[in-house]
């Protein structure tokens, strides 16, 4: 333990603690900007400087560790003046467009300006001008709002181990960019969106499709169907002041109905289809000595990663579309038939925790008979903006249920939103199918939890199998390398691009660096999904009566010709750099 004094308060902290952590542990806050715990600890913005007695110049509290007997002042007048100057300098080269900025209200730079009582622009002069990169269907980069904190760079490089972006040029021309300054669309970016989640400002955002969706809602002749992913309901509430992980399913459904969607469906039902198909595909592969291990394919960020980095191993990917694409295809075929509406009159909107799904929906394979499976993908954040636009008092809403005939989903579908969930849901169905009976066993706790890679050995129908669950692309790469060099002895692999799975997807409400340091956002959201599962009456996909009915009336059986037409896809090797 190390003893020191912070703001006249004697404190004791563990050796190796930074001054910032030591202060925060003792209820003293120090403002930060570039700091992102465990991810970006580089000390480049200077916002967190403090005075250390007997030392020339200020100390950088986010990277400097405590020393015995240190006397630290965190808010002397000199420090406050220096921090304000630093902020003034950052603002002097920032396009201050708060009124039209997607991050207004949840922007760390804006929050600091309020905190520091910035009432005028101190330094006016030349400003750098960058072009906006909005070529991709998923992500928009506006570096006129970038403060060069490098949180995105560290996330892409150290967490995801992609390294699609880095800082180029020097001094005034410094800028975050890509290989040869190409659009993110054309380089090795996977559209995981983790950089957006890390950015303190409005420099990175999803490509919005809000106006397009309102247009469709206005158009009387279009039947607009919306579906919401499992991870959305446990995060949307955060945008309306609920604690992290609160399940606001009922209010969310009411809001969507009030906004004028003709049908509100649950992507969890789509997930139940995915499980039916995926479990069946897995059993077929095992029985017929197909390519193993089979790898899940419901995370489009992961799929793009695989296509760009492991073009020779694409056979391993399950041919299943992701749940919302499957569901979109079912809506435009089965539901269209049932309701007597021409498929081209239906517009399908998916509310997703993900920005890669925007890209997925735009892939040319994702249509059947000329009908796009999903017309628009909006993120959890975009939905919250639409709810505000519609002037709906979210907190006052009554609860309501998803629409029939596909409203009812299982607990297996719910846990799709977290790492390990797809595996667990698939195992529930595969085990029952292989054993030929209804097993008691439901929970596969070995594949739960925060670890980036989780391995388990199980017995399914008397057959020993090895499975592995990886989340985050750096972990995905580790597993793929094992498969490539032949050391992998798994039969079934689940991969999600986002660390922690979709609950931490690139379209989820953005949490500030301070919140991310203090609480485990992933756990709170994931736990909420597991409680939805626990509270569900049906917890296995194949027991879902709605699913059984649609197979009876329409799809025949998992893996049938029809199921393949609507619910499966294929992958193609892609160039890493399309330039």
């Amino acid at each position: 333990m190390v003893k020191l004094v912070i703001d006249n308060k004697p404190v004791e902290v563990e050796e190796g603690t930074t001054i910032l952590e030591a202060a925060r542990q003792n209820g003293i806050d120090i403002p930060t900007l570039c700091f992102l715990k465990d991810i970006n600890e580089v000390g480049d913005c200077r916002m967190c400087i403090v005075e250390v007695e007997g030392r020339k110049g200020f100390a950088t509290s986010c990277i400097q560790t405590v020393e015995e007997g240190m006397v630290v002042k965190t808010h002397s007048p000199e420090i406050l003046e220096a921090r304000k100057t630093i902020l003034d300098l950052i603002l002097s080269n920032h396009h201050k467009d708060c009124l039209t900025c997607s991050r207004s209200g949840n922007c760390e730079l804006q929050a600091l300006s309020i905190k520091f009582n910035v009432q005028k622009v101190e330094y006016e002069g030349e400003m750098s001008k960058h072009k906006i990169d909005d070529k991709s269907p998923a992500i928009v980069r506006d570096f006129n709002k970038c403060i060069l904190c490098r949180r995105c760079v560290a996330t892409c490089k150290n967490v995801q181990e992609i390294g699609a972006i880095d800082c180029i040029e020097r001094g005034f021309s410094s800028c975050i960019s890509t290989t040869y300054d190409h659009s993110l669309n054309d380089v090795d970016c996977t559209f995981c969106g983790q950089c957006i989640e890390s950015c303190p400002t409005g420099a990175l955002r999803e490509k919005e499709y809000i106006d397009e969706v309102w247009e469709k809602l206005k158009d009387e002749s279009t039947y607009v169907v919306v579906q919401t992913a499992p991870a959305v309901r446990v995060a949307l509430g955060e945008e309306f002041g609920y604690p992290i992980g609160t399940n606001v399913k009922g209010k969310m459904v009411t809001a969507l109905k009030n906004m004028g969607f003709d049908k509100v469906f649950d992507t969890n039902t789509g997930a139940d289809f995915t499980i039916m198909e995926e479990a069946n595909e897995f059993i077929e592969r095992v029985k017929n000595k197909g390519t193993l291990p089979m790898i899940t394919s419901c995370s489009p960020g992961w799929v793009r990663f695989a296509e760009k980095n492991y073009p020779d191993l694409l056979d391993h990917l399950s041919t299943c579309k992701s749940p919302h694409q499957m569901f979109g295809a079912i809506i435009k075929s089965y539901l269209a038939q049932k309701e007597g509406i021409a498929p081209h009159k239906i517009c399908t909107v998916s509310v997703m925790p993900c920005i890669a799904k925007k890209y997925e929906a735009s892939r040319e394979e994702m249509e059947v008979d000329g009908n796009r499976d999903v017309d628009y993908v909006i993120t959890t954040r975009e939905l919250s903006r639409m709810i505000r636009q519609a002037n709906i008092s979210f907190r006052e809403l009554e609860d309501s249920d998803f629409d029939d005939p596909m409203g009812e989903a299982t607990g297996a579908g719910a846990i799709f939103g977290t790492t390990g969930g797809v595996m667990e849901a698939a195992l529930r169905t595969a085990a029952d199918t292989l054993e030929g009976k209804n097993l008691e066993k439901l929970e596969y706790t070995q594949v739960r939890g925060e670890k980036g890679i989780k391995r388990a050995e199980l017995s399914l129908g008397g057959m020993p199998i090895k499975v592995v669950v990886a989340s985050g692309l750096s972990n995905a790469r580790k597993i793929m390398e094992e498969i490539k060099n032949g050391t992998a002895d798994y039969q079934f692999v689940e991969i999600m691009a986002c660390p922690g799975g979709c609950v931490m997807g690139g379209g989820q409400p953005i949490k500030s660096s301070k919140i991310r340091s203090a609480v485990d956002v992933r756990k709170l959201r994931a736990d909420s999904l597991y409680s939805i599962d626990e509270a569900s009456t049906i917890r296995k996909s194949h027991e879902n009566p709605a699913i059984q009915k649609i197979y009876q009336e329409f799809l025949e059986k998992p893996g049938s010709h029809k199921a393949h037409k609507y619910l499966h896809t294929h992958y193609t090797a892609k160039e890493k750099y399309e330039i």
Binding site: G43, R46, I49, G57, F58, T60, E81, T85, I86, E122
Partner: protein, 124 residues
């Protein structure tokens, strides 16, 4: 200098330089403001002349100087007149030309073009 500074801006400059010196992470940043700080210390009256009297002793700050044609050197070729973007220069061929200070925007084009270096900066 563009001639728009206020006397208080000198304090602002000094504060800025001191703050950068104390809060920069590396030696380069910590020493970058030194030229400003030492000239402020040793040549403060020149700074004051600039901001209070719009005067540049060294004749360096264009905004604080007039561009004038030295009649001794001018040969009346008319090149400056043709190149002046605001038509501030007048004069007959082979006679010394003149710059109308009310129109001149101090762009310096004439001085760059004059083949005889007849256009000079003059402190105000």
């Amino acid at each position: 200098m563009n001639g728009k500074a206020e006397p208080d801006d000198l304090n602002k400059l000094e504060r800025l330089a001191n703050n950068i010196k104390k809060s920069a992470i590396c030696g380069l940043g910590q020493t970058a403001p030194n030229p400003v700080l030492s000239t402020l210390k040793y040549f403060r009256e020149e700074y004051v002349e600039h901001v209070s009297y719009n005067k540049c002793r060294a004749g360096y700050c264009r905004a604080l100087c007039n561009l004038v044609i030295n009649p001794e050197k001018c040969r009346g070729c008319g090149i400056c007149k043709r190149n002046c973007p605001v038509g501030a220069i007048s004069g007959e061929v082979k006679m010394p030309h003149e710059i109308n200070q009310k129109i001149c925007i101090k762009c310096g084009t004439c001085a760059d073009k004059c083949p005889f270096h007849a256009i000079e900066k003059q402190t105000i």
